[in-house]
Amino acid sequence: MIEVVNLRKYFLVRSSGIWGRKKILRAVDGISFSTKIGETLAIVGESGSGKSTLVRCINGLVQPTSGEIYLDGVKVNGLKGEQYRQKVSRKIQMVFQDPVTSLNPRMKVLEIVSEPLMVHTRFSSIDRKGMVLELLERVGLNEKHMYKYPGELSGGQCQRVAIARALSIKPGALILDEPTASLDVSVQAQVIDLLMQLQNEFDLTYLFVSHDISVVRSISHRTMVMYLGKVMELGPTEEVIDNPLHPYTEILISSIFVPDPNIPLFRPRVQGEPSDPVELLSGCLFRTRCPIAENICSKHDMSLKQVKDNRFSACWKS
């Protein structure tokens, strides 16, 4: 369904100093992966690791610096206008993190959900209304909500509207950029539940961006761990979580607080924060924080290697 080959996205940023030379920020640095239809691929990593940039490249909101993106086997990067509408937005839609800002506060739910329909189809407004109602009901809302403004809805309801909008033109894949990060626990559960149902029903492919590994475990089939624009580990979710190959994955997972009162608070396995993506090091990017780093890590190539049949890791030790 989605295939990404050696994707890079560099930003130019200005650094300090009188004449401030421009420097390169490697937000996404040579990433390749592919997904199957009906599969959920989770992308996890700390903030700034390039998750959003990656998925925004895929649906064309950001122009990648290099690399190729294929949707259903068609190369889609750099498309514009009608081409873009046909080959990208019909196939892949996005749900954003913040339910409040992802809906135009001056449009009614009906208008919001029917906007993609207006762009992509020629249905009459009555037909569209019917379709919108159907969609709303599918995501657990009803006719009442059709004439409300986003400001009158709760966060969870807003996120449902956003999902309905994404589904309105029946895309094959959804990009979910932390769709539950700003929701409450109880609402988060509702939305995840809904997403799982929808996937079953429409055979959707999900790119699920998150930094909450607990949620990832419940929803995704495979997981990709990113750090400073590079993939650290890729593999089936359960295996990655239960038996991480890369020390970074291991640390990420050990940092999670398990909701179990019997586990006492233990000392953090890692210190410091991710280094500045502008001043990248040679060799393994994680070695400055890695508990098992050795001198040789600074020279070692850190491209993703296949370790077992479906497991990949970028650590030479694994």
Binding site: R14, S16, G17, I18, W19, G20
Partner: protein
Amino acid sequence: MNWLRYSVSRLISSLIVIFGVILVVYVISAVVPSDPAALWVGPHPTYSALQNAREKLKLDLPLFERFFYFFKDLLRGDLGISIRTHNPVSQDIFKAFGATFELILFSEFLAIIIGIILGVYAGVYQNKLPDSINRIFAVAGVSLPGFWFGMILQLIFFKYLGILPLSDRIDIVVSLTNPFKEITGFYLIDTLIDRNIPAFVDVLKHLILPAITLSVYPIGLITRQVRSMMIEVLNENYIRTSIAYGIPKRKIYFQYALKNAIAPAMVTVALSFAYTLVGAFLVELIFNWPGLGRYAANSILSMDYPAIVGVTLVVSITYVLINFVVDILQAKIDPRIKY
């Protein structure tokens, strides 16, 4: 370092803007549907006198060439010759500058002091009585037609109370009986340098009404801006932090909040400078103040385009420079500003 880079880049963009300003002003003034030659020669000229004037003023050259000459002269600080007064414009402006700047600086000084005090006060007592009174005053300040307000003040303080002079910078009699040397062009300072107290008092009396007239608008503007900046800042989380840590109120208002509020409010101060620069045009007319404004208004009314260009340039460049200084100061106050 950052600060220096910011200053340099702002300076460059200011220069570009100034060039644009020059171009715009020149083009606007050059398409004037009037005959500068007629102004140059005065009333009832002969035809040949007009023709001579046209040649002298290079009116027969194409606009582009005229701009070229104009710009070349400008780089040497030469603004051309006023068609109305036949003096070099730069000289006219230089003479008028002192009078105007004395008035503007005095009013702006009043405005900044009063505006900040009222603004902080109103911001701290948001929606309480002092705030409401303040706000009505501030709004009234920005709503008064200065040219009208000046007349009303003249009516009250000159005609009815008889305690302040009607107009001019100094009384003729005082200037004759207590002459002083013009050094800075600021009479207040000149009289002081001369230790000429009667003249100083007279100058001050003459300054009061025009300065008040000119400062009501900036006072309103600054009060309003400082007030809303104060409110905004007092809502910030870091102020809440300071309160939570028990930092004394006075320190919070006048040190933390004011510093944070003043950086953005400085833009308003710059804006209010722009107002006084031009407000002086009207105020000087009413108070017969021999400054740039009166010169400008007369030039505009008689379409003396080198003078108009000159004054506009001087005023706009002053304004651009004030903005530049404000930006730099802001960057100095607020370490977050980068570009």
